[in-house]
């Protein structure tokens, strides 16, 4: 087994740092650093939906927005939402809708905005991880927390949480997996590249184990925001 470029083991995540409640005007928010990825996620709502014809009288509409800042990549990215942004927004919205108990808020909208400030592969996973923490921070009733992570193959090795350099390998395959924890339901699955069936199973099992690590991290982040003991001060 050869070592990876940044010295990690094959099933090791990049270092993560998180802070909740960073955006005061939002109902819930989260700032996440995951390796060289930086994400801010905010949640507004449930709030009235406009125009009214978009309203669903049985459940809340989840409006998820994934956007990359122009300065997040090497060369300037146009701030106009591209096809890729729209697609990721749509599928990530579905994955969070399965976690939130949307049927409790009919005729409303829950706006979830994620902005990638700095990117180094695996940004959609980072965005969903941050957005799901922001939803929990906002106090939305949820069935669980969505933990997302990328797994894949580079230079014949099956690895977790690929960096940009690993993603650019010749035989690279990249799978984004979103898992509703602790039920372990897969709510997001996207793949780039060609792969054999057996290899695909290996990648999924690595991804599921990785998602559990992400979940432990998310849980600790939430518990850290509300310390039960300690001094009462401003």
């Amino acid at each position: 087994m050869t070592k990876r470029l940044d010295g990690r083991k094959n099933d090791e995540l990049r270092p993560m740092k998180v802070e909740l409640g960073v955006v005061k005007s939002a109902d819930g928010s989260c700032y996440l650093e995951w390796g060289n990825n930086t994400v801010i996620a905010t949640v507004h709502g449930p709030r009235p939906i406009f125009p009214k014809h978009l309203a669903n009288s049985e459940k809340a509409v989840v409006d998820y927005r994934y956007r990359m800042a122009p300065f997040s990549v090497g060369e300037r990215k146009s701030p106009v939402p591209a096809k890729r942004d729209k697609e990721i927004s749509l599928v990530s919205g579905f994955s969070l809708e399965s976690a939130i108990q949307v049927e409790k808020f009919p005729n409303t909208v829950i706006d979830i905005d994620t902005v990638i400030l700095s990117s180094n592969a695996g940004t959609r996973a980072a965005a969903i991880t941050a957005a799901s923490l922001a939803c929990a921070d906002a106090g939305l009733p949820m069935n669980g927390i969505v933990s997302a992570v990328a797994s894949g193959r580079a230079n014949g090795e099956f690895i977790l949480d690929l960096t940009k350099e690993e993603e650019d390998a010749e035989d690279a395959v990249d799978t984004a997996i979103g898992v509703l924890m602790p039920q372990k339901e897969i709510v997001l699955l996207q793949m780039d590249g060609f792969v054999k069936k057996e290899d695909w199973k290996k990648m999924i099992s690595i991804g599921l184990k990785g998602a559990e690590k992400v979940y432990d991290f998310q849980k600790n982040a939430l518990l850290k925001k509300y310390p039960v003991d300690g001094d009462i001060n401003e």
Binding site: G45, K104, P106, G139, P141, G144, I145, G230, I232
Partner: protein
Amino acid sequence: MNEKKIVVPGDFLTSEIKKLGSNVYINNNKIYSSVIGILSESPEYISVIALNGAYTPSAGDGLICVVKQEAATGYVLEFNSPTDTYLPKSTLRRKLDVGTVIFARIANISDNDSIELDNINILPVGTIYSTSCVKVPRIIGKNESMLNILKENTQSNIVVGKNGWIWFSSKNPKLLVRALDLVVKNSQKSNLTNSVKEFLEKNKTK
């Protein structure tokens, strides 16, 4: 006081059969938490006290509302909730201006989620402190203990709405807001009333 336990969404709570309180859900005969909050459990009852969240109206609640808009036959009121409510002019004796703060009680919620208000009181000029509705029980305290401490030490007149909006007119508004921030920030901790009392007495003279 027994130790408080914080749970996060999806946390498994129990597989015993219990009465379900707020913020829990049942799946395959097991009970899970649906929000981040403090677990409150007794032999026959289980619930989670949320630490943040939107206000859902229920009959009997006293609300602080602000007149948002005037229509031909009534007023649109906003009250820190996903939906606004409508107050017909026929129920009022006088005209309201946009921005007027009123205290009202929910008389009834009809099938199409529209809210009927009664006991409408127009509040004089003051300030609204906005927070999440889940912090309201801590701001009032047991037998209004917290509220009385806040009122006495800052010489304020305070009206608390169940929706998380708090109207006040105070001789020492800065101290009151600092004290309210303290309660909101530390709402999950025990022995809050005494700490707030100490805080107010320490900072009162400044």
